[in-house]
Subunit: 403 residues, 2 copies
């Protein structure tokens, strides 16, 4: 089969899959009574828990808005309405005031919006910002955009100036760490807030974006042979399990964030680094040669990770790998990158999708479904549709230029 024919086949499958996934969440996840989304959905879509996780509320608002705004066939009133309802729910309930008068977002809410849990991290706020910014783009609501920027300012303060208001006690043994999730999320937010908003906005976040890239690149360790999840603030390897931890899916996600950034700023060296170190390397190190699929966690020295789920195959690393390889191919046209994309594609489409709609999230090392729900506390309307959406767009571009 020619490359074009192959990519066309892929695109057709991806389009169908995206339609089916969107349909699943439209049918099963909307709370018509209190607004917002149910995300704990069983195999067939039945709600098995009514808690509302703020990460997932924010992500679903973002994803609906993004689809509505950029894909013609999803420009439907019910998608817009659902996004608005989710946004209203977040604005009404997600922010809980902290002692210092700053806004902290809850991690988890009851069905009717009462805070259940607050994490002492920045991620609920990150997804709140993504939701508000993207919402403002479809509704034209300037307040939502302003709110996103205000929250972003606070986030930057927590990350770069003083994290004490997050409520974590400063402990002498708790060495400050550069954990990859933080600069990755910030870089993603920089891209979100600035996209298509002109020079002034680009300038406002330019230094932050370049700081994020530097922070991410610090995770290349061991003479360039591994990406480690946690390093010291000055980019040295940390001791123990924490220091040796690899999270291949996370590295791959960082890879396509970096490729996007390198394309935006025309930075070819960064593009090469992104592809070599954050796409090819974690794939080499993280792919299970025996059973296929990407491991969740690995120890760079080959010790057994202490995370009980280390050898499981999760849906999202495979989603990130698909985006990363397809984007890398589209930027370079190197056939070996398309080969790797195909390898991940084959594993992914033969293991995760289910005839009842949406994908399974959690497989055993051997590839058997270990948890059969479609949504849970950490699996919502995000990684699967974002992957399918991104891949469809990249394929559209490739095929428009005949691959």
């Amino acid at each position: 089969m020619s490359v074009v024919a192959k990519l066309e086949e892929c695109r057709a499958q991806i389009r169908t899959e995206l339609d089916s996934v969107v349909d699943f969440w439209l049918r099963h996840s909307h709370d018509a009574v209190h607004g917002g989304f149910f995300t704990c959905l069983g195999r067939e879509g039945a709600v098995y828990d009514e808690l509302k996780y703020v990460w997932l509320q924010g992500r679903q608002v973002w994803m609906y808005c993004r689809l509505y705004r950029t894909v013609d066939r999803f420009r439907k009133p019910e998608i817009l309405e659902a996004a608005k309802s989710g946004g209203a729910f977040l604005r009404k309930f997600a922010r809980v005031s902290s002692t210092s008068g700053q806004w902290k977002c809850a991690f988890c809410l009851t069905r009717d919006g009462k805070a259940v849990k607050i994490q002492r991290t920045i991620f609920s706020e990150c997804f709140y910002i993504m939701a508000m910014d993207e919402l403002s783009r479809v509704t034209g609501d300037k307040d939502a955009q302003l709110e996103a920027e205000q929250m972003m300012k606070q986030l930057i303060h927590w990350v770069r100036v003083d994290s004490s208001d997050l409520g974590r006690p400063q402990l002498p043994g708790d060495v400050p760490t550069n954990s990859m999730a933080v600069p990755m999320m910030l870089l993603c937010l920089v891209q979100q807030l600035t996209e298509g908003r002109g020079q002034e906005m680009a300038l406002k976040y330019r230094e932050l974006g370049s700081w994020c890239v530097k922070q991410i690149l610090q995770h290349i360790q061991r003479d360039g042979t591994a990406v480690l999840e946690n390093v010291s603030l000055d980019g040295a390897e940390l001791s123990g399990c924490q220091g040796r931890l690899q999270n291949p899916g996370h590295a791959l996600e960082a890879g396509w964030f970096l490729m996007q950034y390198s394309a935006e700023w025309g930075d070819e060296e960064l593009q090469r680094t992104a592809i070599n170190k954050f796409v090819e390397l974690p794939f080499q190190n993280g792919w299970d040669k025996e059973h296929g699929g990407l491991f969740y966690f690995l120890d760079v020295d080959g010790h057994c990770p202490t995370q009980l789920e280390w050898s499981m195959k999760l849906w999202w690393p495979h989603c990130e790998a698909l985006i990363a390889f397809l984007m890398a191919y589209s930027q370079t046209k190197k056939p070996e990158l398309l080969e790797s994309f195909s390898q991940v594609y084959k594993y992914t489409f033969s293991h995760f999708p289910d005839e009842s709609g949406e994908w399974f999230g959690y497989l055993t090392q051997e590839g058997k479904v270990a948890l059969d729900f479609k949504g849970g506390p950490f699996k919502g309307f995000f990684h699967v549709p974002r992957c399918l959406y991104m891949c469809e767009r990249i394929l559209d571009d490739l095929l428009a230029n005949k691959a």
Copy 2:
């Protein structure tokens, strides 16, 4: 084979196994430089991480002291010295002062004792108390006993009067819960602090002990057909996943705590409830009919639990099941209880022990070793030796009376 011959064979294997397990930790876990214990030990015993988890430090002190005090062949200077060193490490480093002037214990320390993390729960303190009380029994150190009692007083305040000093914000959606771990741990501590210490001490904690029992019994739900891990403060079922969660190993552990209590107070009704509801029932509900072994978590309505490790077979539920069934048999002499003991025994001894010493901790649902280390952040010198020790003592009693 006669029952006596069978039990004798069991006892011989258990004794050998206990000797080997004690030997493993004596050889590999002692930190001769800073005191305390390494607990992250690989398959052969090599240290793969130097962090010191306070739960495991306290448990190892307790276990060494208990063995030294009550089993002749373990009355060895090196065991006493190791216990003392662990106790000194704990007293020097585990307590970190909190804002309100109360003592809070850290969850995790660096090798040289600097606090890395504090949990907003009571469990580090629980194991600190166990360690101090048992240590005072072998050393005669009254200060250690006093410290245990002072910490206990504070614990009771946190649990029964006001938990705000644990540092968890009071959130409107965070309904106060009776989580089984709390009354279980307190009951265990009541037994620890009062054992053999006479009338006055027994009286001091009598009301607390009986409160703990009532709290534990509240977890019998669904018309007596299930033990649920979390219930409301007035003993009603909670909604959602949290409310439907079953943890069979935990229920079995509660079972033998209750049996011990019922024996101490001559409460036959409680003994029956303990055996029916906390031993036989969780075994029925929690045993994997297909692959053998006890599930880690189950949902009482048959939904898939959201814990990624729900179907794994962990060492400690099997340890608790062995103690529970053997104790139930020794209290009742009912042959079916010995049958169940044998069933668990067979699975346990054919899956968890390893020729390099100590047991594996984490198997897949199918019984394959999923994590091959012998000690980790939650696996130390505790469940395996406590199980072997308890079983050996019960078997000694049974065989002294010719079963």
